[in-house]
Symmetry: C2
Subunit: 633 residues, 2 copies
């Protein structure tokens, strides 16, 4: 026990008391890695998802990435303004679920809840698969092991997260700043080269051969799909407003500073990547085929060459993408807890583990993420169409909720307008993404959201029903309770039997001892009954228990007892039936293998087949603990 506890402490950290919670709170320096990883790392797969759709246009397609990226950054700015206001209005953490359900009602709240849950699972899946994608770009021989690598990363993440948010922040800080730093250097050097070469610099390292263009120009439909895929770059920006409470005092100011830095960095990365791709004429490669190389990998090689800097950059991209899944680990359990608090999810999500974490949220997230990775083989490009729908649905509902919030407050027309603009912009985007990506996979997300809303409503219905059934608004009725009927299953005359029978005698005068006779075996109890039990009790002037012998032709031992108890219950009208279950308790778990555990099964069967009047009393008899004998009187 002691050693296993030590191992658990080493892996997951020592248990934390509730009063230690404050110590987990963080400032912007630690907040950017924790809440910004998802948003910032989106820069690694968002532009790539857009460029992949432009492959058929060949070199011509690269032209379109700049206007699409500008549109995305404008949308990002609108969403940023909106979320700043959410942080101000909800200092205790205003996730889309909270904001939507408080301001728009249950229906939109549940829609936001379902959308967000799916979004977090996809955040984890896409983060991991894109990180492994970066690794494969640098080491192509690993491509056949994509899925195994994804699952290994998920396992490491789980272990790290089971230690809690504070330690996690420390682990993630270095890769995040390395990622942002190296990419900013690539963009700066690339910009200088571009200006020095009149807009068309020469790549330092050779680029892959470009496939011939098969389409001459991009139609509106294609551009909508490109925009929809590119919008995955915006996922994760809501993380800060959900987690306001994790920041240290001054909480709101720290949260807003963190959000501003994250959004500014993301905008620079998106525009920088788009401009450099156009300048260096970088066309995406087919993510399913051999010779796949990610856009960031090509870009870094083109600007900086295939040296040590390339490997540092790709290393940090791998780490940050994989760790971006951490946003989901930080927020999914918080979200499920909030939903469970409103009775829409099972209450296990309310239990905080030894490290102040909502452990069950983590378990469910890990299970769902692993399932998605396995189903889609760990390929980012197949997961992208499912993504973004959830995020943008939640954005829209959250901001629509904020509009209602300001409307109720009154006197805040500017704030109402800002959130209204945000809601409109993200609402339109949601529809665009849904339509453009429907056949490619958005239908799966839609189906899942519907299913989850149904489940959440069913859970709520169940809890409401239980509460109606057990709620009691009257005082206890101090009625005299009739003596119970006590049923004692006995095998043969042992100390275990004696203990149970003695307790029965202290409870009631109506005692029925039942003995199951299997097949034609001789029963030893009939022989001992008169001598060991009836006679001494008679002499002492005590009431005499009845002995019932139950025959069992099919060799079942427990069913005859259950049937007898139910029969007794039927015949008595108002008495409680107490079934005494004598049980041998051994010291070591493996000793249980030597006993048939009938007592356990009997307890379970009585519970399942019983009713309000049947009460199970467990009389344990410990093999290695001696009884203190009461003094004779």
């Amino acid at each position: 026990m002691a050693i296993s506890t030590k191992i658990v402490n080493l892996l997951f950290g020592r248990p934390l008391a509730t009063s230690e919670e404050r110590a987990e709170h963080i400032g912007p320096i630690a907040g950017i890695p924790i809440f910004g990883l998802d948003a910032l790392s989106s820069a690694a797969y968002g532009p790539e998802a857009a460029l992949t759709l432009l492959i058929p246009l060949g070199m011509l397609g690269v032209q379109y990435i700049v206007p699409v990226s500008v549109a995305i950054v404008i949308l990002l700015a609108i969403v940023y303004m909106s979320y700043r206001q959410t942080i101000e209005a909800y200092p205790r953490g205003g996730g889309s679920y909270t904001v939507a359900s408080q301001n728009l009602g249950t229906g939109p709240g549940l829609l936001a809840a379902a959308a967000l849950m799916i979004d977090y699972v996809l955040t984890a899946s896409v983060g991991i698969s894109a990180g492994v994608g970066a690794l494969i770009s640098a080491v192509p021989s690993l491509q056949p092991h994509t899925l195994e690598l994804c699952l290994a990363v998920l396992l490491i993440l789980t272990l790290v997260n089971m230690r809690g948010v504070h330690d996690t922040g420390v682990v993630f800080m270095i890769p995040t700043y390395l990622f942002t730093g190296t990419l900013l250097i690539v963009i700066a050097v690339g910009a200088v080269q571009t200006l020095a070469n009149g807009g068309h610099p020469h790549p330092v390292a050779p680029m892959p051969a470009m496939p011939p263009a098969t389409v001459a120009f991009a139609g509106w439909w294609l551009l909508l799909k490109v925009f929809s895929s590119g919008c995955t770059a915006m996922t994760g920006v809501e993380a800060v407003s959900n987690g306001v409470m994790a920041f240290r005092d001054p909480t709101q100011k720290n949260a807003k500073t963190t959000l501003t830095i994250i959004i500014a960095l993301l905008a620079i990365l998106l525009l920088g990547i788009a401009l450099l791709c156009r300048a260096y004429r970088i066309v995406a490669t087919n993510p399913d085929g051999p010779g796949y190389e990610s856009v960031l990998s090509m870009l870094t090689r083109a600007v900086m060459g295939h040296g040590w800097f390339y490997y540092v950059t790709i290393g940090s991209v791998l780490l940050v993408l994989a760790l971006s899944a951490n946003t989901a680990f930080a927020d999914f359990p918080r979200l499920t807890r909030a939903i469970a608090q409103d009775d829409y999810l099972p209450h296990v999500f309310l239990l905080r583990g030894r490290r102040l974490l909502y452990s069950w949220g983590i378990y469910v997230l890990v299970f769902l993420t692993a399932s998605l990775l396995i189903i889609f083989g760990g390929v980012t490009d197949r997961l992208i169409p499912l993504y973004a729908i959830g995020a943008f649905t939640a954005f829209t509902l959250s901001q629509a909720g904020m509009v209602m919030h300001w409307m109720r407050q009154g006197n805040a027309p500017v704030r109402m307008f800002v959130n209204g603009l945000g809601a409109t912009a993200t609402g339109i985007t949601t529809l665009v993404v849904l339509v453009a990506k429907f056949v490619d996979g958005a239908w799966i997300t839609l189906l899942l959201i519907t299913a989850m809303i149904v489940v959440m409503r069913a859970v709520k219905w169940h809890y409401a029903r239980v509460n109606r059934a057990i709620d009691l608004d009257r005082p206890i009725i101090p009625a005299d309770v009739k003596e119970p009927i006590v049923v004692v299953p006995i095998d043969r005359w042992t100390r275990i039997t004696e203990k149970a029978l003695s307790f029965a005698l202290s409870m009631s005068t109506d005692i029925r001892c039942v003995h199951v006779q299997v097949g034609d075996e001789p029963d030893s109890i009939s022989r001992d009954w008169d001598k060991e039990i009836v006679q001494p009790l008679c002499d002492a002037g005590r009431c005499i228990p009845k002995l019932e012998i139950l025959k069992s032709p099919y060799r079942y031992v427990l069913m005859p007892v259950i049937d007898y108890v139910l029969e007794v219950e039927k015949q008595s009208r108002f008495q409680k039936i107490c079934v005494l279950v004598p049980e041998l308790v051994v010291t070591h778990w493996w000793e249980n293998l030597l006993h048939n555990r009938r007592a356990d099964l009997l307890k379970v069967l009585l519970l399942v087949r019983g009713n309000q009047r049947i009460i199970v009393i467990n009389i344990p008899w410990y093999l290695d603990k001696r009884t203190v004998t009461p003094p004779a009187h």
Copy 2:
């Protein structure tokens, strides 16, 4: 429930009452397949195991198979005479375990038990692997799937056996007679051809190319190994004497007739195969290499050609070999039951399932067989060195026991001599096999036998200890029992709480309600306590329960309750402590997912950490079953 019961009945047959047992008994016609499959099918792998060792001698090696086979058949005749006498002396079934432990004492009895258990597991494993080996000889493209085929056969066998011994006999009868019939025809035709061609007939179909001889003549050591491997052909002959009780009246006569037929057939098959192999110059092929073909397959092709008769023969060999494992399925559960009756194995082996079978014996056999097949890749040749040790150890002990049996009876010098001869012959063979095969795998068997004896002694020790602890040879002491202290864990004021508290009031006047306050959550019970509980009970002149609020900084809910109960137990000297565990019982299993099952965990923890004075009372509250309210008085 009803549909699942129907499916179970369809797969495994309807449940049988104990009184239907007699209907399972059989005569020689059904007895030969059931008890003879193992012995007869040994003819398919015994000669092959011997011939495989002679491969290095090339054509020269074939000469040695006839004298070795004659030696084995002489040994077989001695063992046969011995076992006839066992059947006479033990009409209720005289397995080696019974005979050895009754006549030689506990030590030899346990040695026999361990040896037999291992032997049965190997019977099942070798039967299945050799059967699949025959299939591979006929369809070489299946060789890569050897292990999967073995496990599939094991699964089918398990299903068939779960139906019970009677149905099993019917299923196995046709393949057994087909196998014996076709092989006898091959031997007859081959004998005629040999005589017609002056001792050296020409094979009808072409034989595989023979590898060149690498050794010029066989030394004594090689011949001992050949004999040891060939002895695997004798495994299984004890099956009839173990299962005498399964025969119908006249039981002993039927059993003896069955044994005689089985032994006679086996002797003919062994000698016939040996003579034909010499006549047709058939050299074994390497069982691990490509192009493996079993000896029986080559022999049948040589005599009868590669036509339909060949496929019928190989089909019946496959079936019979696979089904020979059935001896183990019939006898292993009987053996473990006999051992468990003497308290040397866990008592689960005594439980008879719905079809009068000792189901746990079957489960354990299947598990061990599957493990062996997986470890040794389903290749017969790798399993052979482990085999035979167990069988011959059991033969020896059984016959030595019979010598003691006759010695005690007196006046049976001839019978004593017969069994003494048997014991001596098989004892020498055991030593030969152990020495010759030690490095190749017999050490594994020796190690397993030792380990099993240790385990069986430990199990016996535990049961003896429990019986000493619980046995009671005095009558009940009708002492007045002091009122118990009742502890009721409560959460908030609900109908569930009310039911528990009402029951507590009927049991004792010393009631302690405990409420665990997690973190800084406000507790609702303090608010309701005076109004809903104290006041009404006070007005009715009843005793007032105490309310204890337990703080829990680490958010554990159950540990504070356990600690409190143990503290109360420590402070009171002789009173029993009754812990009332209120529990919500839902209708559907999935509803349990919505409740945290704390009651179950509390019950288990109380049992593990409790002692003789702590009693757990489960007060179930059913969500969907209405209480009958007692009439007011």
